[in-house]
């Protein structure tokens, strides 16, 4: 148990002294994850809306594939992105391996299906509700998408947050494609793994608490920004 308390006190000191490495690592974690989640939401939510209001032949199949992709093992994503971005791979010329960009690419692949799938569930339920009304009002497809997206905005925010939660705690893929380079691609999760491997459990645990605290803080912040909590239920 002593390691646990050491972890807490080590986290406490790292934070109140604004440890330079900690700040660097934390900012990079946010950079990579926020960018990936913003891109993931920008791709996933329109995809979900499009799947909701369009009827086409392979819609069910597409949705099923999307749900399956949601469970993609990050390590496999990492390996595939690694092979693609490696100098010997098809996109090697861009020299992206072991850069934050590579980490963002891997995380976009991981979070987009998740965001799209959760968003699709929410939009589909709302569409079932609104369907007859929106047809009766002669809405265009674009008006339908806008209406559903607006009225389901809180669920879409939740979908995005789910993506954030998955990405910020993810290590399998970013370790492989980022390489955990100090000051370049080291983020909270890879730093935790590194400190654990050195047997520095206290520091690892401290970083872990910061990771958890940050995830919680960002959830609260986004809810606060959107103001949905104060506005009450529908």
């Amino acid at each position: 148990m002593s390691e646990f308390w050491e972890g807490i006190s080590s986290a406490f000191w790292l934070i109140i002294t604004l440890d330079a490495d900690l700040v660097d690592i934390t900012i990079r974690s946010l950079q990579v994850t926020v960018t990936a989640v913003v891109i993931g939401a920008a791709l996933g939510i329109p995809l979900a809306a499009w799947l909701t209001v369009n009827r086409f032949r392979y819609r069910r199949t597409t949705v099923a594939i999307l749900n399956a992709l949601m469970g993609l093992p990050p390590v496999v994503v990492g390996l595939i992105v690694y092979l693609l971005l490696s100098r010997s791979g098809p996109f090697g010329v861009f020299g992206l391996l072991f850069t934050p960009t590579a980490m963002i690419i891997a995380q976009v692949i991981i979070v987009t299906p998740l965001i799209a799938s959760v968003a699709h569930q929410a939009l589909r339920d709302l569409w079932a509700d609104y369907h007859d009304l929106l047809i009766s009002l002669n809405t265009t497809r674009w008006q339908r998408i806008k209406t559903l997206a607006w009225d389901a905005r809180r669920s879409l925010l939740t979908a995005t947050l789910a993506g954030f939660g998955r990405a910020i705690g993810e290590i399998g893929a970013i370790m492989i494609v980022g390489g955990n380079i100090d000051h370049v691609t080291r983020v909270l999760t890879t730093a935790i793994a590194l400190e654990t491997s050195k047997g520095n459990f206290a520091l690892a645990l401290g970083l872990g608490f910061i990771l958890i605290g940050m995830a919680i803080a960002i959830n609260i912040a986004i809810h606060w920004v959107s103001g949905t909590e104060r506005r009450g239920r529908w």
């Binding site: 900012i27 926020v34 490696s86 100098r87 491997s197 047997g199």
Partner: protein
């Protein structure tokens, strides 16, 4: 009142305002054992100061380090596994081997020493003590330099490593030490990883000093004929620095808990093999 959008904008600025500019970057794949020693934390900033080169370390096992070199994903490798190094250079993936330094492996195990390893004079006796007493031994099992060395030691004394006393992990040095510590088992580790390891509990060094346990570190530049994008100039500067008087002295004087870890042994200043 502070508008939420203001705060969001601030947050974004904070998140993205960190610009990275690196004049000359050399990516080097190094082994976990080297990195865990903490020596890299001393060397990398000094190289930066003296040569202006930012050395970026990718910390992996020897097997993966050489794969990264083969693929051209790093500019140089720093590894310690003779047979694999020779193959790598012979296949034309690396230009040459450059010996930099060596450290040594040690056997760590429970202080109670149920296998009687403490009394052993030579590595053969130490290992056969473990296998005949069927004391638990954890192996990295990850095809790393340390793992390869361990296997070659077992095969040298003709012990078939199977049975419930021999646990193959497939993990790095740190995870392996954590496991050994939790199981109070024997394992082979490089001295540097051991000294820097923070979770020793009941474990201690039970065997050391046999020349069979020496561990030569070698610097290999990735061949620019195969991968024209590699930073050969930067690599050459890093290599020159490592074998320079300053580099070698720095390596030789690096200590943990009053113990030196590495013996510098670069030959001359000629970078051809």
């Amino acid at each position: 009142m502070i508008r939420p959008s203001t705060i969001l904008a601030l947050a974004f600025t904070l998140i993205y305002a960190t610009a990275v500019s690196a004049e000359s970057v050399v990516r080097m794949a190094v082994t976990t054992s080297f990195h865990n020693s903490g020596l890299s934390d001393v060397l990398v900033p000094l190289i930066g100061e003296d040569t202006g080169i930012e050395v970026q370390l990718i910390v992996v096992g020897t097997g993966q380090a050489l794969r990264l070199g083969e693929a051209g994903d790093v500019d140089a490798v720093l590894v310690h596994s003779r047979a694999a190094e020779d193959k790598f250079v012979a296949a034309g993936f690396g230009t040459h081997r450059r010996e930099i330094m060596y450290n040594d492996f040690v056997i760590v195990g429970p202080s109670t020493d149920p296998a009687g390893v403490l009394a052993a004079e030579v590595i053969e006796t130490a290992l056969s003590g473990i296998s005949t007493s069927k004391s638990v031994f954890v192996s990295r099992g990850d095809d790393s330099g340390t793992h390869k060395r361990e296997l070659s030691l077992w095969s040298k004394i003709g012990v078939d490593v199977s049975g419930s006393w021999y646990r193959e992990l497939g993990s790095g040095m740190g995870a392996t030490l954590n496991t050994a510590s939790a199981m109070n088992a024997y394992t082979l580790t490089d001295r540097a990883s051991w000294l820097n390891f923070g979770n020793k509990r009941e474990l201690r060094i039970v065997f050391e000093g046999d020349p069979e346990l020496f561990n030569q570190y070698v610097f290999i530049p990735v061949n620019p004929d195969r991968h024209p994008h590699v930073n050969s100039d930067g690599v050459r500067l890093v290599e020159e620095w490592l074998v320079s008087a300053k580099g070698q002295t720095t390596i030789g004087s690096y200590m943990i808990d009053g113990q030196t870890l590495f013996v510098p042994n670069a030959q001359g200043n000629d970078s051809s093999d």
